[in-house]
């Protein structure tokens, strides 16, 4: 269990704008995913917990032990915090062999001398590094380096594992290997993990809890599924990147029939009753790309269907994203789209029960 309130301010210097991190969150056992774009402050959160960067203000606890508390002036050293930290690149020490890197880590963790060798041997086997142990990082493969960096972080049983996930250029195979390793670490060693990532998929694959941050602020927290289903504001929805965000005006609201009418451009669409909203409110309609349905235009548009002309198509592995005029995006299975490749005019249907306003 981690409880953290962290504030850190970097003033603007020369051409670099200032940056302020101000987050407060709790993370329980298991894997917590810190999700956000580059420059959101993810690494800074990890650094502050590991004790590499002192916050300006706040309080950090792990399992009721205080690591940092501004009010009482407690600031434990990284050694006392016992956090494992996996960096975005393997960051192995180049003049030491993989084995020496692990021995160095064991020494830093203050393991007794004999115990060091025993644990290093054990961990070399566990991470399938017994053959590569004698190699220097530059002679080892990318995968071996990555395994070694995970092994180094978990030696001496840290009570929390901080992971800064490699960014996109690391390659899909390497990333998925890391996720597998982390899953093993969680299952076999029972170490809670705080994983910083830009990949939404990782949140679902690993995360029991998700913290969406951007611009140094925590936007939403909760199970990934619920964040994904119900982003609390436009910022989160934009961050997740799979929502239509369209300006609408509420024309009528009927709590009795649980309905509403929204004006979207020249079209009117029906939604459910939105509690706490008023007639005439200008809001943002938020609906996931894959929740809209599109069909080739034929005859008159049906209820909640609007006519839209296709501008651009982005094909993915499993789905196709159709970009329509008016910034409407519909995601549909490849198979459904396949037969309608040459259609330009479509009807886009807004399912009444899927519409949310923010």
């Amino acid at each position: 269990m981690i409880q953290a309130r962290i504030r850190k301010k970097y003033p603007a210097v020369a051409e670099r704008p200032g940056f302020t991190l101000e987050v407060e969150f709790q993370a329980s056992q298991g894997v917590t995913v810190l999700y956000g774009p580059g420059g959101a402050g993810k690494t800074l959160v990890l650094d502050a917990i590991a004790g590499l960067v002192p916050p300006d203000d706040g309080r950090i606890l792990i399992d009721d032990q205080i690591l940092y508390d501004r009010a009482t002036g407690i600031n434990r050293s990284p050694a006392e915090r016992r956090c494992g930290y996996i960096f975005a690149n393997p960051a192995l020490i180049p003049h030491m062999t993989l084995r020496q890197n692990l021995l160095f880590a064991a020494a830093c963790r203050r393991l007794p001398r004999l115990e060091r060798h025993r644990q290093v041997d054990e961990i070399l086997v566990r991470f399938r590094l017994n053959e590569a142990g004698g190699r220097h990082p530059r002679e080892a493969s990318e995968s071996e380096r990555q395994r070694c960096s995970v092994a180094r972080a978990v030696i001496g049983q840290p009570r929390l594992l901080l992971v800064d996930e490699p960014s996109g250029d690391a390659g899909a195979a390497l990333r998925s290997e890391l996720l597998n390793l982390l899953q093993d670490v969680r299952a076999e060693m029972g170490i809670p993990i705080l994983l910083a990532t830009r990949q939404l998929d990782d949140c679902f694959e690993l995360g029991e809890e998700m913290l969406a941050i951007d611009g140094g602020r925590l936007l939403q927290s909760g199970p990934p599924r619920s964040v994904f289903e119900q982003p609390v504001n436009v910022g989160v929805a934009r961050l997740l990147g799979c929502f239509n965000l369209l300006p609408v005006k509420i024309e009528t609201l009927d709590p009795g029939k649980n309905t509403s009418r929204l004006r979207l451009g020249d079209e009117a669409i029906a939604g459910l009753y939105f509690p706490g909203r008023l007639r005439g409110d200008l809001l943002t309609l938020c609906v996931r790309h894959d929740q809209l349905r599109a069909a080739p235009a034929a005859g008159k548009p049906g209820p909640n269907q609007i006519r839209a002309s296709l501008q651009r198509v982005a094909e993915g592995r499993h789905t196709v994203r159709l970009h329509f005029a008016g910034e409407i995006v519909v995601e549909m299975p490849r198979a459904d789209y396949g037969e309608r490749k040459h259609v330009r005019e479509w009807f886009v249907e807004f399912p009444q029960d899927k519409l949310r306003v923010l």
Partner: protein, 226 residues
């Protein structure tokens, strides 16, 4: 009358001794200062940086004048030195070491600082996150990673120390057989019209400097190939 090849080689040995000693003394000091400048943030950092670089820009005569005032037998520093080593510093070969130090230290600080700043900070962060103390990070990570560049810089600094002229002449003097270093000896030889000695010494020092440059180049950080 001097026979053509009769050259007094004492200045060469003295210069080598002075330069070696100056480099050895400058090295720990420079590494410490460089590490401080590269990794710490503190008040007065810009000022310290400036003071370190001052000797590279100030005219040698000005520097030497300050040293003469600072270390004269009547000054506090001069007296402290005398009470420890039992003799004055100025106009001894030890003063030549000091003169060499004045120029080698800033060079070494500059080069070591660049070397420390070039070290992959993730390696240092990794070591710190594992709980390594500042000393351990320095000895096991930062210094070994910067070591190639620093040794190359030390070799260059040695070369620079061999050639110091102005400050050496003013605070160590030109006493043949005592404080006359190689550059000063060349100056004297030219002054007194001893062309053969000047040529010999000039050739020797040029050859040595070339060798030093070659060595520094070989030692320097390997460039990635391929």
């Amino acid at each position: 009358m001097n026979a053509p090849m009769q050259i007094d080689w004492f200045p060469l040995w003295l210069s080598l001794r002075v330069a070696a000693l100056a480099t050895l003394l400058a090295l720990p000091l420079a590494i410490w200062l460089a590490h401080l400048l590269a990794h710490r943030r503190f008040r007065g950092k810009a000022l310290l940086d400036m003071v370190i670089h001052l000797p590279l820009i100030l005219p040698a005569t000005v520097l030497a004048y300050y040293l003469l005032v600072l270390l004269s037998q009547s000054s506090p520093l001069g007296r402290i030195y005398e009470s420890i080593f039992g003799g004055p510093l100025l106009f001894t070969w030890q003063a030549a070491v000091l003169a060499a130090l004045i120029h080698t230290t800033p060079l070494l600080v500059q080069a070591s600082r660049t070397a420390f700043e070039g070290v992959d900070t993730n390696c240092e962060r990794a070591a710190r996150s594992l709980g390594a103390s500042g000393w351990r990070v320095f000895w096991r990570v930062s210094l070994p990673l910067a070591q190639r560049s620093i040794s190359a810089a030390a070799v260059l600094a040695f070369g620079r120390a061999l050639g110091d002229f102005g400050v050496t002449l003013m605070i160590a003097g030109n006493l043949p057989g005592q404080t006359q270093t190689l550059p000063v000896a060349i100056f004297s030889a030219v002054e007194s019209g001893n062309g053969a000695a000047a040529r010999g010494l000039v050739l020797v020092i040029s050859g040595m400097i070339l060798g030093i440059l070659f060595l520094a180049n070989r030692l320097g950080p390997r460039r990635a190939t391929g």
